[in-house]
Symmetry: C2
Amino acid sequence: MDLNKRLRNKKAFDLIMTAEEAANLIENNSVIGVSGFTPSGYPKAVPLALAERGKKEKNFKLDIYSGASCGPEIDTALTNAHVIRKRLPYHTNPVIRKAINAGEIEYLDMHLSMSPQYLNYHAIPNIDVAIIEAVAITEDGHIATTSAVGNTPSFIKNADKVIIELNVRKPLELEGMSDIIILDNPPNRKVINITKPDDKIGTPYVECGFDKIAAIVVTDLQDKTRPLTPVDETSKEISDNIITFLKGEVDKGQLTNSLLPIQSGVGSVANAVLYGLCESDFENLTFYTEVIQDSMLELLKCGKAVFASATSLSPSPDALKIFEEDINFYKDKIIFRPEEISNNPEVIRRLGVIAINTALEADIYGNVNSTHVSGSKLMNGIGGSGDFSRNASITIFTTASTAKDGLISSIVPMCSHVDHTEHDVMVLVTEQGYADLRGLSPKERAVKIIENCVHPDYKEQMTSYFERALDNGAKHTPHILEEAFSWHINYKNKGTMKL
Amino acid sequence: MDLNKRLRNKKAFDLIMTAEEAANLIENNSVIGVSGFTPSGYPKAVPLALAERGKKEKNFKLDIYSGASCGPEIDTALTNAHVIRKRLPYHTNPVIRKAINAGEIEYLDMHLSMSPQYLNYHAIPNIDVAIIEAVAITEDGHIATTSAVGNTPSFIKNADKVIIELNVRKPLELEGMSDIIILDNPPNRKVINITKPDDKIGTPYVECGFDKIAAIVVTDLQDKTRPLTPVDETSKEISDNIITFLKGEVDKGQLTNSLLPIQSGVGSVANAVLYGLCESDFENLTFYTEVIQDSMLELLKCGKAVFASATSLSPSPDALKIFEEDINFYKDKIIFRPEEISNNPEVIRRLGVIAINTALEADIYGNVNSTHVSGSKLMNGIGGSGDFSRNASITIFTTASTAKDGLISSIVPMCSHVDHTEHDVMVLVTEQGYADLRGLSPKERAVKIIENCVHPDYKEQMTSYFERALDNGAKHTPHILEEAFSWHINYKNKGTMKL
């Protein structure tokens, strides 16, 4: 293997060691910052070695900060080894989810745009060691990131030590696709000079230097990105409803046929929604988003979309293969930015992003729960949905109207946890239809949501709640507090929200 | 009265008419945009004439958009005359509050930064007539606003007709204190080039032109700003706790002695909090806020603060007198901006504003309710608190730990309405102490809030809820849904939250 293309200074070769040796450089009770965003661009070998160390060493504990979700080499392995004490700002892993809900791990569920800011403001304990996946290290010891930028720039800036996983499996062509900038803290922060998704304002490398690099571990491990489930009928209907809504906006002259830059959440439903755009009449679409999934690659490929700005590329294993084979096609159509920039309110509001995110549940007044099952049990986290939904020109939330074969209504009288408030949610979409809530009072929203979005099986029951709430007291946001969670409680006790 | 100084084109004189005549230019079912923000800079004579018209004309209905809260000439008079059909984006008036909660008026409670954006995006019905208070009309028919800018620029831009109330009581020295800019809609929106509170980026006038001006009504009515209640012991203790927290940040080197630009909500408590700064060791303070109240004028006067950017000046009647007498002192220390700018996430996050806002209730996990009593009854609205709290470098919420002589605990197991989520609230302050929630998981927050912020009378009861919730199921955000609102329900049934 010719490492000279990827390690451009002799100093680098002296730092090469095994994952175990690198893991042993980390002291107990350290705060670790790992590269990556969604299961993409995250370190694998050193975390696995840390997990092994955790199995042997009594009370070996680490706080783990990341960009967003990581692969199982971090969240599964380190959870199973009981190494993680605190975790932030986001995860999507079933093993750590169970440990968080069992009270074994303290989890801080943050707006992703805020996570580097908390670090740079010293509002959370500082990073001791950053573990960063790289495709190359420059002559000056600066880092070319792989398929995700995430919080890597801020982690490296703040860390005492940096451990690099040089991943030789990742194509060197990724170099140059990142646009790196770190914002100064106020009062010295400057304008973020992005007025179009493809504006470049930074450097292709993360500043580091050999003084900080404590170890280089050479790996060839592939990201464990998630396969996508096939597009089902419900997702297709949700997608159709979104496109109908957007077409209506174009027809009214409120949007052009190129819309505005789109942000879309992650996962099979989100991906299915975007696939719908392939067959739409829209053209020259752009994305200003967090994660590039299969559908976006396809939209770029077929020419329907012209550019995607993101912080991470996280396609299915199949699509990843296609991307890597055709990387020179994509290279000038994609930018990876730090999540401080991809998720920054300044840029999102300026560009007028159209934000499409998934709700776990929504209520009749337009509040959205993205994170907690029945108010207590964490699913994943808010991720970047708040950064986008609060600042978008149009904020869309989608959910299937029911879950668990119809035993759960995703639209409830009152959300058991609120991540996106009535002030933020503009359009609610289910497979039943869409409710454009803009300009409506809470009562007007309830009427429209019940009519357009609630599943027929729950309409009568919801109408009954709303009508009785209207007679119950103050009529701005009518509720019956004694009954507001009765659907959730009924599900817990009887296995169905049907009363 | 020499009007030539204020009306600088002969055309203006031809447009002078009575308030009644101007009110008669407005068609039934119109959408009206009124100037002003807080009871300051709002039109008075024409709204009073519209109320009279409403009393005589059957089913005379208007939708009223404003900058924020207005004086009684609008919200009391037009409510009592049954003229208002829909009202947005904010109010603080007891008469309209009653009508909203009685279901007589549809009210849309919006993030203030979003209200001009909704209008400019045509996401809400357009303004037919703008009624704007002015100190002068230029030769070209452009408008010099009075003591508030609010949404005036966007209202004039979008209105078919503009009615001016030329208020000759307001000092002409106000001219030049406003910095007017209207943001283009995406994809053409540019950077907002403010990097310090005193940066000027616009023009001193709102563009209008004589073609749009349908009437000029000359008035000399004073704003009905609210007198402030004297600083009570509880407010003083809250203020002391905030200052202790901020001093701690300075001692840790996280802030300089000039802090960062401060935003403070409106009202007697907020004002009392800022009075505490007069006796602090901080210096060269600045404000990037919505409203200038008595305390800020005093901080500027004594030299403790050096500059205030706001969208409105709304001091008590006594302080207003002092301001007007000494306007030349204040003139270069204050800028009034459109609320699209004063409240813009881009600028707030860039400047690293320290946001201090009031909670109606908060829960043990750090969610804040700013708007609804017991989940249904509207108080005022979210106003700009979301614009600031989501983007501030430090987000502080204050509340007295109890209300109604101790019968209500302002800290509850679960908020009955959420305006600011657990992801947004960094520091919670009551007269009991402060809880710095940054970096804490939900459970860690609960422990700290119960320990530092809950009133002693409710500590045992709250600890009992939290401990039983911990045994109840998922442990990320422990709750007992059957009991989450029991404190509110107990208050309704028994007049106390004490169980």
